[in-house]
């Protein structure tokens, strides 16, 4: 394993306590090295432990074994270095759209308040919500709320962006638009991203690299270097090219095998 990894997940395992006093293994010891600027997508059968792995990287869950390093520092708990975008709406209803994005900067004391205002407005425009700055959260659509969450997280300037099925609750059209927007944002920002999704098309479209997990307890089934075959700059047209369909087939086959395995076991 190279020591230059930006995020280093080293022999990390997780078991949760069950109500009857036992423990249930959710993640088997696994290791992943992620380079700075890499866009890594986690896929795998439902309930396999993707969210758990991501939450451990975010410091929101403590590994039962192993350790995680981000930029050379051991992850000990949540911090501004590890930005999270949740699936469910996590924007604050008592703030406006702009107020929520400002909140991402609230605990940064490395910059002046004038600079904070500039950054907040920059990300507001970047996610295309310029016209909605003063709207309250309950008056904008689900897709817009996710854009608020993304802008707020980016404004905090984290080292890594952790996104857990951020577009899962959206309709197909909004999702496509946000996927394109995320690809553009990412090219502009060069952020390291870990992204969890159920949607294999989404995974192949966005990823530099896809990590396929097994059914619970999670192991790594495959680590597919998507950017080795697909161009870095992609559009939705890519869904039709043979290389795309090849990777997609490969990922789907791996997940399907796991899910039929699950059914057979039950």
């Amino acid at each position: 394993m190279s020591t230059s990894a930006f995020i280093r997940i080293n022999q990390v395992a997780k078991a949760f306590a069950t109500p009857d006093g036992g423990t249930i293994p959710v993640v088997d010891p696994l290791s992943i090295d992620i380079k700075e600027g890499e866009f890594v997508v986690f896929v795998g059968p439902s309930g396999c432990g993707k969210t758990t792995v991501m939450r451990m990287v975010g410091g929101l869950e403590t590994p039962s074994a192993g350790d995680i390093h981000l930029d050379g520092k051991r992850v000990e708990g949540p911090s501004r270095d590890k930005g999270m975008v949740f699936q469910s709406y996590s924007s604050f209803p008592w703030l406006t759209v702009l107020g929520n994005i400002r909140f991402g900067l609230r605990y940064r004391n490395d910059i002046s308040s004038a600079e904070k205002e500039r950054i907040a407005r920059h990300y507001l425009a970047l996610v295309g919500l310029g016209q909605f700055a003063d709207y309250t959260i309950n008056r904008i659509s689900g897709g817009m709320r996710q854009r608020v969450a993304i802008a707020r997280t980016l404004a905090a300037n984290p080292l890594v962006l952790l996104m857990d099925e951020p577009f899962g609750a959206l309709d197909a059209l909004s999702r496509e638009r946000l996927q394109i927007q995320l690809m553009e944002l990412r090219r502009a920002e060069r952020k390291t991203v870990i992204f969890v999704t159920h949607d294999v098309d989404e995974a192949v479209l966005l990823a530099d690299r896809i990590v396929v997990f097994s059914a619970r307890p999670a192991r790594i089934l495959a680590d597919i270097p998507v950017s080795a075959t697909l161009p870095e700059k992609r559009s939705l047209d890519i869904l039709d090219i043979p290389e795309f369909r090849q990777i997609r087939r490969e990922v789907l086959a791996l997940i399907r095998a796991q899910e039929t395995g699950l059914e057979a076991a039950e």
Binding site: S79, R80, F86, S90, W94, Y107, Y135, A156
Partner: protein
């Protein structure tokens, strides 16, 4: 599709529904609110009670000693104000309620939030709180008298005991109900524990907390009357009890109505503030 601002604004003020369907909606399961019709219904029901009361009392079916007429009650009320210095009684009662209520709130809000956040605080305080919470307030009257005499201290303390131990649990529950995502979002944006409680938890729980406070203020009045009946020489409860002793039923009614009116007024005022402060919830 994206909503343009103008369209969203148009959606905010839908065409006014006709009156007939508004009345029908009142009988439809979980239909939208009809503020105007609901106000009329509320006022109407109130007036109906008043009319029935008048008819029964004025017809002479019931002795005035048992049920005085509304006219007699209004007369008694005016007498209380002009002859017995009732305004002073009302003022002292309101002052006792608010003193106890504010003292409860000022301690219960921070402590309730700490209880929701730290297991240590819950572990230490919950058994005591649950113990005191089940003590009926009247049972504590003798003790507060022994300790604090019959001054204002004993009355405010009694009200405080009656409300604080209930309020703190309500506040802790309000804090616990704040979605985990809000807390975790705050944390991943770099908030410290203190900032998290002040900027996220408190803000998120505020609408529910104001409701909890409103309910607790009502309980305060219940205990006030107990305190004033047992150990006081002023206040609405004292006047109420004195009137009974001299068989002045109209004055008793006037006292009860006074409490009801003050309660109704406070409750509606807080509800109105709630709607204004938390417009973002709509």
């Amino acid at each position: 599709m994206e909503v343009t601002p103008r369209k969203a604004e148009a959606e905010q003020s839908p065409a006014r529904p006709d009156r007939k369907s508004a009345w029908r909606d009142l009988f439809t399961f979980r239909a939208a609110a009809q503020p105007r019709q609901e106000l009329w219904l509320g006022v109407g029901a109130f007036l109906l009670v008043l009319v029935v009361w008048s008819i029964v009392a004025e017809s002479g079916l019931v002795q005035p000693q048992i049920l005085p007429s509304p006219r007699a009650v209004v007369a008694a009320w005016l007498r209380l104000f002009t002859e017995a210095g009732y305004l002073g009684d009302i003022a002292i009662s309101v002052a006792r309620v608010w003193a106890a209520f504010l003292a409860s709130a000022v301690i219960a809000i921070p402590l309730g939030i700490l209880m929701s956040g730290y297991r240590f605080v819950t572990a230490v305080t919950e058994p005591i709180i649950d113990f005191v919470r089940y003590l009926p307030v009247p049972a504590l009257v003798p003790l507060t008298l022994i300790w604090l005499g019959i001054g204002e201290g004993s009355k405010v303390t009694l009200l405080w005991i009656g409300t604080f131990f209930q309020l703190i649990l309500l506040i802790a529950d309000d804090a616990r109900r704040v979605p985990k995502e809000f807390i975790e979002t705050g944390r991943t944006l770099g908030a410290s524990d203190g900032a998290l409680m002040k900027d996220v938890l408190l803000r998120a729980m505020l609408p529910n907390m104001v409701d909890s406070l409103r309910i607790t203020l009502g309980w305060c009045w219940t205990y006030l009357i107990v305190a004033e009946i047992v150990a006081s020489s002023s206040g609405i409860g004292y006047e109420l009890w004195t009137a009974r002793r001299y068989g002045k039923t109209p004055e008793v009614f006037a006292g009860i109505l006074t409490i009801g009116i003050i309660g109704l007024f406070c409750d509606q005022a807080i509800r109105m503030l709630h709607r204004r402060w938390f417009r973002y919830l709509q």
